[in-house]
């Protein structure tokens, strides 16, 4: 039977483009022949704006890049500033920001899994269960810094305020409850026949392809590459922490889901270890000035953000604002593989694959 190709424009306004992503997709019936991603609908010029602001003010810009993971964005930026200006952070500040970063990873992975299952067509139920857990983390953040999404918690040298007394019992309660909630989620989703049928052997990403495309984060680990910057290139105090790195065996959508789910469990363990090691003390060294004035030079510190390797390349000309700021955004680089992954699969797989890559358009376009 002769068929005619249909070219369709999906997005930027579409229920499952996770923001304002646009694709020009060519179908042969239900099969995808070509998928061209078109980005730039959420470009706000964050990198250029950073050149007009002091080093501390830029923290608020980083919040708005990957808005599901503000804490890790702050962390990546602050680590780069600290290296640039040679600030030694205070111990308690580092532990606090590690706790914040791992909680943020749990929140971001919850969102990623929830929306992936939503793209599979489960009518919001698993998503809302996961968002309920995320809500508890956001409440913890609110205790820490007064904000839920755009935290701006970190400062050069540590964090801007200590967590209040009521934070610690709440955190312990969350750590006690979360494994049970994860078991519930696993019972509902992991062995679900429909989810297995929909995600297994779909959009398989080979190890070599992933490395060649410089894919990072859970997506790379789902393809079986043991690459986690917290382990390979420890920043903050991650070398004092022991944790396991879940790896996928095949590299399909199901593995990307499983890796994220198990990383949530590992993050819980990391937070528990941080709680054992944290000691009272100042959260920020006294000698860090209000206006950081790094010497001329450049710095880049990559960190393991929930979506992959995130790093801020900062160039200083000795002034109070960065001379140049460039962000290595994991979402953007992971997204480049979408086209190669979905060709030959069905329409429905396109959205599942897009969900499994877990991009955030705020970070892709910046």
């Amino acid at each position: 039977m002769s068929t005619e190709l249909v070219t369709m424009n999906i997005g930027p306004i579409h229920p499952s483009t996770h923001g304002v992503f646009r694709m020009r997709v060519t179908f042969d019936g239900e099969t995808i022949i070509d998928a061209e991603p078109i980005i730039g609908y959420l470009h706000r010029g964050s990198e250029k704006l950073a050149e007009e602001r002091t080093y501390t003010q830029v923290v608020t810009l980083t919040d708005r890049m990957d808005y599901t993971a503000s804490m890790t964005n702050n962390q990546a930026y602050i680590l780069s500033v600290e290296k640039l200006s040679g600030i030694t952070p205070s111990e308690r500040g580092v532990w606090l920001r590690m706790i914040a970063a791992e909680l943020q990873r749990i929140a971001a992975h919850s969102v990623a899994i929830g929306f992936l299952i939503n793209d599979l067509g489960a009518w919001h139920t698993p998503l809302l269960y996961l968002l309920r857990e995320r809500e508890k983390i956001l409440e913890l953040f609110e205790m820490m810094c007064g904000a839920r999404i755009t935290n701006s918690y970190l400062r050069p040298g540590g964090v801007f305020m200590d967590a209040p007394d009521e934070f610690w019992p709440s955190l312990n309660k969350f750590l006690d409850e979360m494994p049970n909630r994860l078991d519930d989620i696993e019972n509902l989703l992991t062995d679900n026949e429909i989810i297995l049928a929909r995600t297994q052997n779909v959009a398989t990403l080979k190890k070599d392809d992933a490395i060649n495309a410089s894919v990072t984060g859970p997506m790379l680990r789902a393809s079986g590459v043991d690459w986690d910057l917290r382990h390979r290139n420890p920043y903050d105090y991650y070398e004092k922490i022991s944790f396991r790195r879940p790896l996928g065996t095949v590299g399909d959508n199901n593995d990307r889901y499983l890796v994220r789910l198990h990383e949530i469990r590992e993050s819980l363990k990391i937070v528990e270890q941080c709680l054992d090691l944290i000691e009272p003390g100042p959260v920020k060294p006294e000698e860090v000035p209000f206006l950081v004035r790094p010497p001329e030079g450049e710095s880049y510190v990559p960190i393991e953000a929930p979506k992959g390797e995130l790093g801020f390349y900062l160039v200083s000309d000795g002034g109070i604002a960065p001379f140049r700021c460039h962000v290595r955004a994991p979402s953007l680089i992971n997204l480049t593989l979408l086209r190669d992954m979905v060709i030959g699969y069905k329409i429905a797989d396109l959205f599942v694959t897009f969900g499994s890559i877990d991009v955030n358009m705020g970070e892709v376009d910046r």
Partner: protein
Amino acid sequence: MGPVRESFIFEFLYCHLSLEASCSSVRVLNIAFIPENLSWISFILTAFFWIFVFINAALVGVLALIWGERRLIGKFQARLGPNRWGPLGLFTPVADAIKVMFKEDIEPTLSDKLIYVLAPILMVVPVFMIFPVIPYGAKTFLTNISVGVVFVLAITSINSLSVLMAGWASGNRFAIIGGIRAVAMLLSYEIPMGISAAGVVIVAGSLSLSEVVNNQVIPNAIFQPLGFITFLVASTAELNRSPFDITEAESELVAGYMTDYSSMKFGLFYLGEFMATIASSAIIVTFYFSGWRGPTFIPSEIWFLAKWIGVIAIFIWFRATFPRLRIDQIMSLAWKGLFELSLINILVLALMIAIWPDPSGMQLLLMTLINWVVFFLSIYIFGKILSPNLTGNKIKKRSVIYGLD
């Protein structure tokens, strides 16, 4: 004037209007005034009255279902559901209906105007025709047509035409993909649905819905579980409900065939879908849950209503739980799974009815036992041996490995 006169509720009203001689035994109050030679007037008046009642009852039922579904799914999803308008949010669907009516009515430039307007009407009107033939109680039914089973199956399949018309006429690519998916899926699921219903007919020995209920000593859901499961899955697909909601797949096709519809045209689609859910549930109750039958200390209408709400709740439960299947998996499930299962069901039933044409109580229990054995065996075999073929790829449970230090 045919089968309508068999209906008690019809006859009751008719006899209070017409002075017909045969009516005197039914009449309770002597208020009839239309002479016998003008009985067609009383017939039309009665008919219009009941049409009015049934249509409005169906519409109120839809409002109740919308409210119930949103409340129940709210509970499933650990949130409140609608609770602002009226007590327990009861007026929310009314507010929704008013809102839908006052929205701007958009007709896309590329649309085929006539078909575009006809499609939503075709979605709603046939569903109204199912309600009069359902026996709601021992005496409460409007008409008992002798081919009721065939009639309801025929009427419920009209909506696939409407979906295709809507998809085609919109001139939108999301819509046309939704429409084409709908035709492929709905036509495929007609077949297991019809064959399963044949099992019901074999047991009842009649195509009349009243007879189907009368002859169900053991509810068919227990008596022929295989037929029940295939019919339930097939009607879920027929209703475009999750996990078979590929025609309007929100995360893929925005709203599928009704992407370009707005205002009351969209409202009609919405109405049609919810009304089809109600109608299909009534059919399932009649076919598989022995309709209005139940211990007599509760009126038969109440039994029917309780079972009806129960079946609707099953559909809502499905929607809150399952992710969606892909189009090729849905087609495989119809042709490689449900089709064979329904054939096995009808084969076993036909053999047993041939051996015991008029079964006694013990024989009925034995037949039920055999049916359950067949049920478990066939589900096991299809699950283990054919399941990799069903979904298109070999699935197996997996876990992660951990990186070595």
